[in-house]
């Protein structure tokens, strides 16, 4: 028995019961959500050190893998499960009219996100992914404006399309191997999935799950959704949820799909993502969409990092992901009150100096100015790529560096506006204290990272090493060998 499943079960249970609780006491209904998340975060943190030594595999319902569904917890998965839980806690949606529903949705998001990170079964991942998608529809549409409905619907179309393709990919995998357990797939993959069928399955799943991870050609929903959803929701989606989708792709790459072609596809799409996102952001004239486009660019960098073969790629991707995990939500929180035209921001630093300073810090880290963590993350991505000495990777480095200069340009255009000495005609809104405090907390994390660079890098390296250790994964889950032949 392990308490880890409570990270998934408790939020779901609370979400189910929330409307009943509301009948009894509205106060309780308001507070139980955050409290439950706090509890699950504590559970996750208490398990954390124990996973450093050896990862943990649990079987839902106690059935032997691969018959039942496996929950596989290593620090890699737990890191993102915790990020999801704590992220939701920090970015707890606050909407006046739909408080009950958005609380349930937030709880569901936290529970599913954790489950998605911890799941060790292909179809289970799909179900978690779908649930997370549905929850995010709810969060986006929860704004209640006609724009949010329209963008949700458009998001739903592309996401539904992708999910169905991913399902077809899963069908192909099951057809070839007869199992859905990732550990067993890892055993069988070199023999059974290293062919056209396996590659087709990978492409289908990559594009299906890539929708949420803002993979290049399937990320057209990003700007409109982030522009219409509330900033807290955008922060959650761009900051945390996209990373979870990425995590699935990472898991699949590490365990199941080892084709070099898979890496090339990732690399090409990553390059296109960086180029298109940063270029589009350059002309964006409102902060929300600028951040949306730039997040496409940064996710592109993560895909490029993933395409580096071996441990180095996973390490680099992990570093970029963790950096982005802190940075993007913070930026979106600042955009909460600064949304809208950038022109109108002129002189906003005067009314909210702390927020403006924080924005400068975040911008500097985002474009990778040493010694801020963004620089080291970028370094980790570029260094192994140059060592590979292949034209496509050189191109990727070039695109990344060029994109960084574009990024510097457009982000500092915003900074310049903030510090403009002629204030705009309209008065500036001051950030809500809770928003600013959360953003500061995340920004503070970045600064703290500067001083803990070495232990942090070591920690991430060991997490990456644990994540890439396929044999430990198989041993920990220990799926029983499938009997060949038919039953009776």
């Amino acid at each position: 028995m392990n308490l880890l499943v409570l990270m998934i079960a408790l939020p779901l249970l609370t979400a189910f019961l929330l409307s009943s609780i509301n009948r009894i006491s509205t106060l309780a209904a308001r507070w139980i959500g955050p409290l439950v998340l706090l509890a699950t975060a504590v559970i996750g943190l208490s398990v954390w050190p124990q996973l450093g030594a050896a990862p943990l595999a649990l079987q839902w319902g106690g059935f032997q893998a691969p018959l039942g569904i496996t929950l596989y917890a290593d620090q890699f998965a737990l890191l993102f499960a915790l990020a999801m839980t704590i992220g939701t806690l920090l970015l707890w949606p606050r909407s006046a009219e739909n408080q009950l529903r958005s609380s349930s949705l937030a709880l569901l998001l936290a529970g599913t996100g954790s489950g998605l990170a911890l799941s060790g079964d292909l179809f289970n991942i799909y179900v978690f992914y779908e649930l997370m998608t549905v929850v995010s529809y709810g969060l986006i549409a929860g704004r209640g404006t006609s724009g949010s409905f329209a963008s949700t619907l458009r998001y739903l179309v592309i996401s539904g399309f992708g999910a169905a393709l991913a399902l077809a990919g899963i069908a192909l995998v099951y057809q070839a191997t007869g199992t859905l357990n990732l550990a067993q797939l890892a055993q069988l993959a070199p023999e059974k999935l290293n062919n056209l069928q396996g590659f087709a399955a990978f492409v289908l799943m990559l594009i299906g799950f890539g929708v949420k991870a803002e993979l290049f050609p399937v990320n057209m929903w990003v700007p409109e959704v982030y522009a219409t959803a509330s900033s807290r929701v955008s922060a959650l989606l761009a900051g945390v949820v996209s990373k979870l989708a990425l995590l699935i792709i990472m898991r699949l790459l590490i365990l199941v799909f080892h084709q070099p072609e898979a890496l090339t596809v990732l690399l090409v799409l990553g390059i296109l993502g960086v180029a298109s996102g940063e270029l589009a952001a350059w002309r964006a004239r409102d902060l929300n969409r600028m951040l949306a486009f730039s997040s496409i660019g940064q996710l592109g960098v993560m895909f490029i990092a993933l395409s580096i073969p071996g441990n180095a790629g996973i390490f680099a991707a992990l570093a970029v992901m963790v950096h982005h995990l802190f940075l993007k939500p913070s930026m979106f929180l600042l955009a909460e009150r600064w949304g809208g035209s950038i022109e109108k921001l002129a002189g906003a630093a005067r009314t909210s100096p702390i927020a403006a300073a924080l924005f400068v810090l975040l911008a500097l880290s985002l474009i990778g100015v040493p010694p801020l963590p963004g620089f080291w993350a970028k370094l980790l991505v570029i260094m192994p790529m140059l060592a590979l000495d292949q034209p496509l990777y050189y191109l990727a480095v070039f695109v990344m560096l060029a994109a960084a200069s574009l990024e510097a340009n457009y982000l500092f255009r915003v900074v310049m506006k903030l510090y403009d000495k002629q204030p705009a005609a309209t008065s500036h809104k001051v950030h809500a204290t809770a928003d600013l405090a959360t953003a500061l907390f995340l920004g503070g994390g970045l600064i703290a990272a500067v001083f803990m660079l070495v232990p942090l890098a070591d920690r991430l390296d060991s997490i990456a090493a644990q994540a890439t250790d396929v044999s430990t994964y198989i041993q920990t889950v220990a799926p029983q060998q499938l009997q060949s032949g038919r039953v009776q």
Binding site: A200, V203, M220, R283, V369, L379, L386, V397, Y419
Partner: protein, 623 residues
């Protein structure tokens, strides 16, 4: 704690004090004293400047990504640090008195100004102390952003120029990062020594890529062609002494890094081996020609400016060409000249900016068409500017002459008459434009609105005078500076120039003590004749004739607008703003791409792209 630790610590403290106490009445003085202390800490390491010490390590070092990050000073760093701290000291001194009060009264934040200045000095020291390629890049970025900060202080228009600067600088930094990481991929280490050992074995193609990346990266900061557009306007908009500081040393950091990586580690001899296909040029020639065009074009752009600060700033761009030229030639004469020019240029450029700022302080304008005749009102400033422009034009007896002489001489020794010709054309433009500067500000007739103008306050005059003394003394005894440059030459592996206190010891060498003494004697004799001859008569400043017409005191006549019309008629058509066009072209290309991408993301049918992606990905494997 080593001397370097002390230096960096004091410098960091200076930043803190500046940010904390900058707005106090004594804040500026406090900071100035701290700069002096930095100078003292630097002198503790003066062995570096005289080859008695080779390296001073910092005890601070961290290990990141299994790379040991080191900071240390050698002769080169020491030489540049000396100039940096000197520039910081004088600029801060200049800013501490009346200028600062005025700045504060006009709504500026002195705290920010002093803080930014101190931060610039600190980051530059960190850069100069870099002990490997990674720390070099870190220092590089810090310096870039610190200069950005001080440039943007003025707000308004300055924002635009600072933005342009940071766009250039960050793109350059990214090229640099690419280059450094390429070295890492080739060499497997960020260590200086490993690169030095690996450079001779590198393939020509890799080396070309490296040289292009690194030179572009460093070149942006140096503002060599074609990256020169940002500098002049950005410097000119920097508040007062900040411009003096930036003009004196900031863009020299590019040169420093260039010397460290390209000259010292990769080696000029490798550049010579790199032939450009289908021409008889090699990479060294290419750099030398870039340097020459960097001398000529900005200098003649400066000629057209009618704002004193812009004129000076454009010269800053042009003079970089001399330094780069000397260093790229890389013989004993050239490199000594290039290095010495860094020092000399810093001394008179800071002084000239200070004079202009003092003039602005008193008259409120730096527009060359709205000034004139201030000689009678601000004689000390006039003297400082006179000394400065003699130095800038490279005429004896000032120090600028020595460094330029060395560079010219090296070109002749090297057998490059065309380069020599280019450099001389540049000097010609310099002389013309500095005359325009001093004439339009100080000579001619005083304008009515400037009758009440007084000499600049002492807090401004003293730093100017001190710099003037430096300019003259190092012109008189160039051996003082040549000692340091020789130490640098020894440490970066270039033949050491044989020199003595008065100049260069070689056949047809230079002895400034002799030259200047002769000049002084001649000058003294002339003065004697002038006063004893009794032929001279003092006239009023407005008592002038022009074109045969007697002008009354009511009709002012000061020839300042449309300077050098004949020359301009001759060379006017050559001003084509080609680089502005180039810049605009790049921007509009990015803009077009950006619009296209935005169009992509405004696609009505996102699913269509999903399908296309699936089909392409599948077909890539199947077909």
């Amino acid at each position: 704690m080593t001397a370097l630790d002390t230096l960096l610590l004091i410098s960091a403290i200076t930043v803190g004090v500046a940010l904390l106490a900058g707005n106090w009445r004594v804040g500026g003085w406090l900071v100035t004293i701290l700069y002096a202390l930095q100078g003292a800490a630097l002198l503790m390491m003066s062995g570096l400047g005289y080859s008695t010490l080779t390296v001073v390590q910092s005890s601070f070092s961290i290990e990141v990504l299994s790379e040991q990050l080191l900071w240390r000073f050698d002769a080169l760093s020491w030489f540049f640090a000396l100039i940096t701290i000197g520039a910081g000291l004088f600029s801060s001194w200049f800013a501490s008195g009346e200028w600062g009060e005025r700045y504060r009264d006009n709504g500026g934040s002195l705290r920010l100004f002093h803080g930014a200045l101190a931060l610039n000095v600190f980051t530059m020291l960190v850069l100069l102390a870099s002990g490997d390629l990674l720390t070099l890049f870190i220092g590089w970025e810090l310096v870039s952003w610190a200069s950005f900060l001080i440039m943007a202080l003025a707000g308004g228009k300055a924002f635009g120029y600072a933005m342009r600067y940071i766009s250039y600088a960050f793109a350059g930094a990214m090229a640099l990062l690419g280059g450094l990481l390429l070295i890492y991929a080739e060499v497997g280490s960020f260590d200086f020594q490993s690169l030095k050992e690996a450079a001779p074995q590198m393939q020509a193609s890799t080396l070309w890529l490296l040289v292009v990346l690194l030179t572009s990266g460093f070149g942006v900061k140096m503002a060599i062609l074609p990256f020169h557009l940002w500098q002049a306007k950005a410097y000119a908009q920097t508040p007062g002494p900040g411009a003096a500081f930036l003009g004196a040393i900031s863009s020299r950091m590019g040169l420093f890094a260039f010397i460290v990586v390209v000259v010292q580690l990769i080696g000029i001899s490798r550049l010579v081996e790199m032939e450009i296909p289908f021409t008889f040029l090699d990479a060294q020639d290419l750099l030398a020609w870039i340097a020459v065009f960097t001398i000529i074009i900005p200098t003649y752009i400066a000629l057209r400016q009618h704002d004193a600060r812009r004129l000076l700033a454009w010269h800053g761009v042009g003079q970089t060409g001399y330094m780069l030229l000397g260093i790229v030639i890389a013989n004993d004469l050239g490199s000594a000249g290039g290095l010495m020019h860094v020092f000399n240029y810093a001394s008179y450029q800071a002084m000239l900016f200070m004079v202009v700022v003092a003039v602005i302080h008193r008259t409120g304008t730096s527009d060359l068409n709205k000034l004139g005749g201030l000689f009678t009102r601000m004689p000390l400033s006039y003297l400082a500017m006179l000394i400065g422009i003699i130095g800038l034009a490279g005429l004896p007896p000032m120090n600028g002459f020595v460094s330029k002489w060395l560079i010219y001489r090296s070109l002749i020794v090297d057998g490059s008459p065309l380069l020599f010709l280019g450099a001389v054309i540049g000097t010609l433009g310099t002389i013309l434009s500095v005359y325009k500067l001093i004439h339009n500000i100080f000579l001619g007739q005083l304008r009515v609105e400037h009758v009440a103008v007084r000499e600049a306050p002492l807090s401004m005059v003293i730093p100017m005078m001190a710099l003037a003394v430096i300019v003259f003394v190092t012109g008189y005894f160039p051996g003082l500076v040549l000692d340091w440059t020789s130490a640098v030459q020894a440490s970066i592996g270039i033949p050491v120039l044989a020199h003595h206190l008065g100049g260069v010891s070689m056949k047809g060498g230079l002895d400034m003590i002799w030259i200047v003494s002769v000049l002084l004697i001649g000058f003294g004799f002339g003065t004697l004749v002038f006063f004893l001859g009794g032929r001279s008569r003092r006239v009023h400043q407005l008592d002038n004739y022009a074109g045969g017409h007697f002008l009354t005191a009511e009709t002012r006549y000061h020839y300042s607008d449309n300077f050098y019309p004949g020359l301009m008629h001759l060379i006017g058509p050559w001003y084509r703003n080609s680089f502005e066009w180039l810049e605009r072209g790049v921007i509009s290309a990015v803009d077009t791409l950006s619009t296209a991408m935005q169009g992509l993301y405004r696609n009505a049918h996102p699913s269509y792209l999903l399908l296309a992606a699936v089909v392409f990905a599948l077909s890539w494997v199947i077909v």
